[in-house]
Each structure stands twice: as C-alpha cells, then as structure tokens.
C-alpha cells in the first residue's frame, strides 16, 4: 500500500523505517494511485523543469507587458540594474522569479506549481539553487518530487487555492514546497527538510488573496519574489538545525484554520485589501470597461 501523503509525520516514519529517500514514496504514490510508470514520472518532471527554465528565459528576453498595463518588464529591470542591494545571487534570484511569473501574466507557457498564480516560485528557487551549487538535473528532479509530496499534504490538510485559503495557500504553499526542496537537494536530513517547510508556513500564514482588478498580476508578481526569499531564509535556518518549535503538521492545520476563517472578500474575489483601494478600483474600471 502506497503512502497517501496525509501527514509529514507518516512520510518521515515511512522513509525511516524503509530506509529510503524522501522522494521515493512520492514516486510510489503516483505509480500506485495514478497508474503511471516510473519512466513517465521522471520524464514528466523533466519536462516541467524544462518549461520552468524556458519561462525564466522568455521573461528575461522578451517584452513582458500585460493587456492591463500593470505588468511592465520588472524582471528584466531587476536583472539589468547595476544597483545591487545584497548580492549578485540575490539579484538574479529575484529577477528570474519575477521573469517566470511575468510570463504567466502575459499569457506565456508556465508550470502551475502548485497554481498559476505561484508559477514563478519553484522556477526561481530551483534554477538558482542548481546554478549556485552546481547540482545535477537528477537532484533537482528529486527535489521537484519532494516538493510535490509537500504540496499533496498541504492540499489535503489545508488548501493550495487562493479562492479557498487566500494567498497563503498559493504563494505560501509554493514557498513551502520550495524550501523543503532546497534542504533536500543540499543533503539535509528529513527533520531539517520538514522544519524548513514548517518555518516557511509560519512566515506566510494569514496572507490574503486580493488581486487588483481580479487579475493575476498585482500583488501576485512581487509576492512570488518575496516567497522565494522566505523559502531561502527558511532553508538556511532549518539546515542549521534551527527549530520551528511548532511541528510542521500542526503548522499546516493552522494554515487550514486561518484559511477557513478568512473572509471571502480576501479570497480571490477582488473585493478587499489591495483590490479595494481607490487606485485598484480605477484600474479595474479601465480594464473591465471595454465590455
């Protein structure tokens, strides 16, 4: 019987008692429940990673302006500026993440991971992680499987959709998937991987979904950027044995509870938060007036 990804605790016990790596039960799950072959799964992950890297490339090289006018080539601007606030690596991390997300807003091809609104986060994290640490493609694909396992549990216990759980469920989940993947790829142990997930969730709890004019542009694009920063800070803490104190499974339950109690005006309806500001109203009028 394949592991069903109901909890991080069960995933950990399963791996430790069978002495297998974290990604293995994810493979077994997909084979058992969805009837795919192992070769198909690796191929699918490889294709996804390729599309992610293509999105970064497209975002950094082509014109990224959206029909609403709110997306204005920010990824390229961040990439090209000579004003470096922290380090070259950090600048590239933010630029590539935004680039991939802008491709999504401008009707280009992306991987919804876990959703289209969060589609810049895993590309930004994994492509930069691979470059900086010279990791093999195989390692990154294993990281993607670990990320998928994390997503399955969050979806099962909370939500990965902005209309159900707010933005914590979209960019928060993607960041949590990414931080776990980082620690896994860098050789962290299972406790450290799951601690990274817990810390990321703690950082993104409560984030509302309030897209201006209902479009997946503002604040989605900058939130993809902040999500990768949170993923890396969480991974840095966890891999140094920093303790989130609240276990990851309990963090996920907290996320679900917050999502359930969040008012519907903060769940993709574009009725609250940033979407309700005077400027947003004006933009919304302009965008949707054309009908």
């Amino acid at each position: 019987m394949a592991l069903l990804f109901d909890s991080f605790q069960a995933w950990k016990i399963h791996c430790e008692s069978n002495n297998i790596a974290l990604y293995v039960p994810v493979l077994e799950y997909e084979i058992a429940l969805k009837g795919r072959t192992e070769a198909e799964i690796w191929k699918g992950m490889e294709t996804a990673y390729t599309v992610m890297k293509e999105a970064i490339h497209t975002g950094l090289t082509q014109d990224m302006t959206s029909r609403s006018g709110m997306v204005k080539n920010t990824g390229k601007k961040v990439h090209q500026t000579t004003k470096v606030v922290l380090s070259k690596e950090f600048q590239t991390l933010i630029a590539t993440t935004i680039a991939a997300k802008e491709v999504n807003s401008c009707m280009g091809r992306i991987v919804a991971a876990p959703t289209a609104g969060a589609s810049g986060i895993l590309p930004g994290i994994l492509a930069n992680l691979q470059n900086i640490h010279q990791l093999s493609d195989q390692k990154i694909l294993e990281g993607l499987l670990v990320a998928a396992g994390i997503g399955l549990i969050i979806q099962h216990k909370a939500s990965i959709s902005g209309s159900i759980g707010g933005c914590q469920a979209e960019t928060g989940s993607a960041a949590a998937m990414g931080s776990g993947a980082i620690v896994y790829c860098l050789g962290g142990n299972i406790t450290q991987v799951f601690n990274a997930v817990a810390i990321t969730i703690q950082c993104t709890l409560g984030l509302v979904c309030d897209p201006v004019a209902g479009l997946v542009e503002v604040p989605c694009i900058v939130r993809n950027a902040s999500a990768v920063a949170i993923a890396f800070s969480s991974a840095q803490i966890a891999i140094a044995d920093g303790d989130p104190v609240i276990p990851v499974d309990e963090c996920v339950v907290a996320m679900g509870e917050i999502g359930e109690n969040m008012e519907s005006k903060y769940k993709e309806t574009a009725l609250g938060g940033l979407a309700a500001t005077p400027t947003a109203q004006e933009i919304s009028q302009k965008v949707h007036h054309k009908n």
Binding site: V26, G44, M107, R109, A116, L145, G151
Partner: protein, 225 residues
C-alpha cells in the same frame, strides 16, 4: 477530499497563463467542441456568463476559447495570437456577455457553432485548476469532465436501452466511470453520455452505430493525450 490528486497537479499542469480557470479551463472547453465537431467550425458565437462576462478580456479568456476551437491544447504558445490564426483558418467569431444569470455557474461559457451548415451548441463551466464540466450539448443536459474516454450516443428512447448499452461496453472490458441519459421530452430521442476509464474497441463502436434504434455515436478519446 475524495479523489486524491496526482503529483502532476502539484507540479503542473503546464499551461498558458494567467489563470487555470480563465485560460487552461477555457482552452479545454473550446478543444472539447473542436473534438466534437472533428474540425474548426466556420462560425462561433461565444457567450461569457456572470463572472466570466466581466473578466474574460482581462484574463485573456477571449483568446483562450478561440485557441481551443482551433484545436490547441492548454499549453500551446500560439493561444496569445489565436484570433490571427482563426482568420487564416476562416473561423468567424463574435463574443457576447450575459451578467447575472442566476441559474448558471460563475464561470460559464456557451458556444454556438456552425460547421458545414450543421449547428452545435455547448454549455460548459470552468471549475478551477483547469478542470471543466460540460453541462449541455444541443439542449441535452449532461455532466462531462472531458478527461476520460467519452461516448455520446443519440438513440430512440426504447425500453432497456441504458442497460443494453452498458452491457455492450462492459463486454469490451471497459470500465464505465459515469453514465447518464438526458431527454428533452418524455418521448422522443434520448442522449446517452458515458465516461469510461479506458479506450473502447473500434468494432464495438461499429456495432453500436449499426443498431437501428441508435442514430449517432460520437467517441472522444482521452482529451489531453
């Protein structure tokens, strides 16, 4: 949550942005219609309802539906320029909007298509995550996910027809996932909608087609393959 997700719902789908309900789902609705017709229609009247009526342009659903009608998949990068390609393919289209249709899902689309003098009308909902539900075909109510292997059979409403069709399919070793029949009036033609887990034998299809009380059989193999 009853049905467990695939890991390719976590890392995927691969799609054209910006939103799974406004682009990926909408492309699939158009593509379903394309598959049903077996070709690009000559003319399409596309009606966006409710929430879709006010958001379809901002999210590019207008381009997505044309892409689907041209037979494109949700990850086709040509979707952005679909109207230009439609012109070359001699597809004439127009958009309509209807707000406050209380009986309809927030993200509903109606397609009225003409192809070789024949017409086809489809009503469908985009449920999020690229998942769609076809709720009406030519006035017959249905509930199709357009994800599995689908049979649409128009037949005289004779006694035992449902059981008969189910048995024929079962003999083919095909597992029926969902099956429904819709009638517009008490007597007259009925339309059977059958979703199956695997492909059906061409010979079984021919057999069904040749039955006197069956007027048409349409078979759609796995939509996204």
């Amino acid at each position: 949550m009853s049905e467990r997700s695939s890991i390719f719902d976590m890392i995927g789908p691969i799609m054209i942005g910006p939103s799974s309900s406004h682009t990926a789902g909408v492309v699939r609705i158009g593509r379903f219609a394309h598959k049903l017709l077996g070709k690009v229609p000559d003319k399409a009247v596309i009606t966006f309802y409710n929430s879709f009526a006010s958001t379809y342009q901002g999210h590019g659903s207008d381009l997505a539906i044309i892409g689907g009608l041209l037979g494109m998949k949700p990850d086709d990068i040509r979707i952005k320029t679909a109207p230009v390609i439609a012109k070359k393919a001699k597809l004439i289209f127009e958009y309509k909007t209807v707000n406050n249709a209380g009986d309809k899902h927030p993200n509903t689309i109606k397609l009225q298509l003409t192809s070789d003098q024949k017409t086809l009308e489809i009503v469908a909902e985009s449920l999020g995550g690229g998942v769609i539900k076809i709720v009406e075909i030519d006035g017959f109510e249905c509930s199709l996910s357009a994800q599995t292997f689908t049979l649409i059979i128009k037949a005289e409403d004779i006694k035992g027809s449902i059981a008969f069709i189910a048995e024929v399919i079962a003999h083919d070793d095909c597992n029926i996932a969902t099956m429904g029949v819709s009638r517009k009036s008490k007597k007259g033609e009925g339309c059977h909608f059958i979703e199956m887990d695997s492909a059906i034998n061409p010979i079984t299809l021919m057999y069904l087609q040749n039955l006197r009380w069956i007027s048409s059989v349409i078979y759609l193999s796995d939509m996204d393959l």
